[in-house]
């Protein structure tokens, strides 16, 4: 059965999932257009993994429905599995098989046949710079290599829709950058990607659209720029060397920016809304220098997605870090 061609690669509507007392998803709806990258952003326990498990047919929703590539994930589970690739939160490569054996096995389980599976495995090993390690047991791989192998495994049958559950969690910055580069290539090839992340920077860097979820609900959605606009404009800021001169600096900032400044004693900085752009930075620098105030840092700060989170939920993004994660409750 060929997939029905639709403009939407993923459609979730009103998804509800409970684990006993805990409501992991409380009516989550969103759509992902074909060929785009959607970032599902939220703190630990927000329901990201649960949403991915339902969309990838691993769990059943208590209410609501979902379609992947136009196919209902419940009614056409097997057809959906042919079209999706899933990289779960923990890299699920088989440590007792070699990297190459891992990929060949996935190919065979996708019914590609032995010969195609072998050829595809070698191609992916090359693409992910794992050729040298191909014959080693995967348990000897570094964290970054395991992630790359895991991602390669999800790509064996060239999925139309790729689900990546916190793809860079636990990676060092270098491995993370390498993984991001790989994802860029995939996006360039037109693969639809849904990725979950608790790193705001990552959603900003990779996603066309961001769906912010918290406590099982969608609390905001849009592109990164739009979300940032919801929070407000840029902030003009200056950090001074001597905290005693903060009030004086605040006065100068007020004059330059034309809006009320805020003082952060701990960071020895002052900031205020500044929509005039870079020119205001120059004027502020000049004014502070004229007053003889030594400046350590000075600039225009665009709001980060952390600010978005703070504005939307009234709590920092990591506030839910202690809450049990849906995936753990689900075992």
């Amino acid at each position: 059965m060929p997939p029905i061609q639709t403009a939407l690669a993923i459609e979730a509507s009103g998804l509800v999932k409970r684990y006993g007392e805990k409501v992991a998803l409380d009516g989550v709806s969103f759509e992902v257009p074909r060929g785009t990258v959607c970032g599902l952003l939220g703190p630990n326990g927000a329901g990201k993994t649960t949403a991915v498990r339902i969309l990838t047919t691993l769990a059943e929703a208590d209410a609501g429905s979902a379609r992947v590539a136009g196919l209902d994930v419940h009614a056409s589970a097997k057809a959906v599995r042919r079209l999706l690739g899933l990289a779960a939160q923990e890299a699920t490569v088989d440590g007792l098989l070699t990297g190459r054996e891992n990929l060949i096995m996935i190919g065979e389980l996708h019914h590609l046949g032995r010969r195609t599976s072998v050829a595809r495995a070698d191609e992916l090993l090359d693409q992910f710079a794992l050729t040298d390690a191909a014959g080693r047991l995967a348990k000897t791989y570094s964290g970054g290599m395991r992630r790359r192998l895991d991602l390669a495994a999800t790509l064996v049958a060239r999925p139309e829709v790729l689900f990546l559950d916190e793809p860079t969690t636990g990676l060092d910055p270098r491995a993370r950058n390498e993984l991001w580069a790989v994802l860029d290539t995939l996006v360039g090839e037109g693969t639809t990607i849904l990725l979950t992340t608790q790193y705001l920077e990552e959603a900003d860097r990779l996603a066309d659209d961001i769906v912010v979820i918290d406590h099982g609900r969608v609390i905001a959605r849009g592109d990164a720029a739009g979300l940032k606009r919801q929070v407000g404009g840029s902030q003009l800021f200056a950090t001074v060397a001597d905290a005693a001169r903060l009030p004086e600096a605040a006065g100068i900032l007020a004059r330059v920016s034309g809006s009320a400044p805020e003082i952060d004693e701990a960071a020895r900085s002052v900031h205020a809304g500044g929509d005039e752009g870079p020119r205001a930075v120059a004027r502020l620098g000049e004014a502070l220098a004229d007053a003889g105030i030594e400046v350590e840092d000075l600039g225009l700060r665009r709001p980060t997605l952390d600010d978005v989170f703070l504005t939307l939920t009234g709590a920092p993004a990591d506030a839910g870090a202690d809450a049990p994660q849906a995936a753990e409750v689900g075992g």
Binding site: Y19, T56, T57, L58, A59, E60, K78, A79, R81, R82, L84, G85, L86, A88, Q89, E90, T92, D94, L96, L97, E101, M105, I106, E108, L109, H110, H111, L112, G113, T116, A119, R120, E123, L137, A153, A157, R158, G330, G331
Partner: protein, 272 residues
């Protein structure tokens, strides 16, 4: 150069092939884990040697050598212990996400469990062969016809098949490989000892004697002794008088009860 991926299609024989791919993975696991290999090679051989030479002199059986009596019991016990391997393998796959990965693939339904079962069954053959050889060294002999001997080995394979389902059930119900180990030693271990596995049942105190007489491990031990022409327990309880029939009843009962329960427990655990 890029590999063209054929459009995946529903094909006949998918279940058998998927099952075999998963089973092959299970067999590779055994080969690459020396400690798992020891479970099915060194341990049974050690048991044969220990019981034959350490306890052998102290235990008297009617109608023959203790070494010959011992083998039926030790075969049965090793098969029961095979349940650990299945359960631990399954619990391990569940806890490290491998089952989820398989379930996100377009596999035929039942192939993941089937693959585990086939790998376990094949894994179970190795100790049976090794113990047979070891038994021959310590003085065990098959004195019956080829057909009866073949019947004995067939009974072992059938019992292994039943035990696989006990393992699947344990592996699905218990959350971690460690929990499986715990249950194995507190439940399965005594079951294999309160039986005519190592000593004739009539040497046990009264209440235990009844348990032993009706214990399926006794039945299989005793059936193997009969089929291989070795000395038996000489108990006059009905199960011990008809060990082959009683073993077959147990095997059918275990499969009929444990297989559906195991499949249900497995589905429930994974679909969360």
């Amino acid at each position: 150069m890029s590999v063209r991926i054929p459009v995946p299609a529903e094909r006949r024989g998918g279940l058998a092939r998927d099952t075999w791919v998963i089973a092959r993975r299970g067999l590779l696991h055994i080969r690459r884990q020396p400690e798992a290999l020891a479970d099915v090679t060194l341990q049974p051989v050690m048991f044969v040697l220990l019981f034959a030479y350490v306890f052998g002199g102290a235990i008297q059986v009617e109608g023959g050598d203790y070494q010959e009596f011992l083998m039926g019991g030790i075969f049965a016990q090793t098969i029961v212990f095979g349940a650990f391997g299945v359960a631990i393998g399954l619990a391990y796959d569940r806890s490290n996400g491998a089952i989820d990965r398989f379930r996100s693939l377009p596999l035929s339904q039942g192939s993941v469990l089937g693959g585990h079962a086939v790998a376990s069954l094949l894994r179970g053959l190795l100790p049976i062969v090794l113990m047979s050889l070891c038994g021959l060294i310590v003085g065990w002999r098959i004195t019956t016809s080829v057909y009866e001997a073949a019947g004995g080995y067939l009974l072992m394979i059938a019992f292994s098949f039943a035990i696989v389902w006990v393992g699947v059930l344990l592996g699905s119900l218990l959350p971690t490989p460690e929990a499986v180990q715990g249950v194995a030693f507190t439940v399965l271990f005594p079951i294999t000892f309160i039986a005519s596995t190592f000593v004739p049942a009539d040497t046990l105190p009264e209440p235990l004697q009844t348990v032993a007489n009706w214990n399926p491990v006794s039945a299989v031990s005793e059936a193997l002794r009969v089929l291989f022409g070795n000395p038996t327990s000489e108990s006059d309880a009905w199960p011990m008088e008809h060990p082959i029939v009683y073993s077959v009843i147990w095997i059918i009962a275990i499969v009929a009860i444990c297989a559906p329960l195991a499949i249900r427990a497995y589905r429930r655990t994974i679909a969360r």
